[in-house]
Amino acid sequence: MGSAGRFTISVAALPASLTTANAGIMTASRYLFAISRDQLLPRLFNRVETRSKTPWIAVLATGVLVLVAMFVHLEILVWAIRDSYLFPDGSQGYCVQAWRRMRPGWSEVTAVAGLTGPSSRSAWGAGRRLAGRRPSRVCGGLRKWHPGRNWTMGCCRAAEVRQNSVSGRTVLP
């Protein structure tokens, strides 16, 4: 491509990298905010600025971590990014299965796609029937020994998560 092509690609890639950094800081700070809202981190991170309504202390803390991470060797950084996301990613898959088993047809998107519900005739439903009752049994075990048992799914079903009988939409507190 030559020098002109390299210049063009670089000019296109520069704002792309900047928006990635922006979105990363925006989303990462909300994790701190949410953990603090559930009273599992100091209440400091739950502070919301009055005018713009943004969690500015969480954003600031995320910015400090970003600044520190910029001076780490890049291969270590990539390794840390990849490996630390394995647990949340796997747990999300577990959550989908567990929530589906708890309340079939709870999500409108997959209900439309025909993926959920015990009456589903798709291969997905057959696979779920083959899988047996294991997720709920695991959930029951967790509920039994876990100290914060009013957080877990059994009580979500009772108190927190209701389903609107008219629209079928899941209602959250």
């Binding site: 990298s17 898959g93 929530w99 409108e108 997959t110």
Partner: protein, 155 residues
């Protein structure tokens, strides 16, 4: 106090597209093509299938529970607050270095490529184009000395 929740479809789309389009689109396909050759299309298809699995999970959870702190919220409600906190902190710890990675990439792009090209352009304006043709950028040298352009190795 509640957060301001006024992002619409176009805002979320712009945010997600801006977050995804970065070094993964501009740099990594070249590296993958250098190793896999034309089969890079197949490898991207397989990687897309793997990514689709996570995407479907996220879609289902997010449309049903649009709450702040995605992973932490779902996992703490399904597996208990301990697991939820671990997942939330790990997600925070994996998203913030991604910003740092993008910022380092932007700095390298700005310094190495754009400033270098501008410098060449200005120099060619001063010296004349016949001087420029004899020059070669350090990364295009036939002997391929890697120490000539250390910042390029970052990419």
């Amino acid at each position: 106090m509640q957060l301001a929740k006024d992002l619409g479809l176009i805002h979320i789309f712009s945010l997600a597209a801006g977050a995804m389009i970065s070094s993964g689109l501009f740099i990594l396909p070249g590296l993958a093509h250098a190793r896999a050759g034309p089969a890079v299309v197949l490898s991207y298809f397989l990687a897309g299938l793997l990514a689709m699995r996570g995407l479907l999970s996220i879609i289902e959870l997010t449309t049903a529970m649009p709450k702040t702190g995605a992973d932490h919220f779902y996992i703490s409600r399904a597996m208990g607050p301990a697991m939820g906190t671990v997942a939330g902190v790990l997600s925070w710890f994996s998203l913030s270095p991604k910003s740092a990675f993008a910022l380092v990439g932007a700095a390298v792009l700005l310094l190495v490529t754009i400033l270098y090209t501008l410098m060449i352009t200005v120099t060619s304006g001063v010296l004349g184009a016949e001087q420029l043709d004899k020059r070669q950028p350090s990364w295009d040298r036939p002997d391929g000395s890697p120490s000539a352009s250390p910042p390029c190795r970052l990419l």
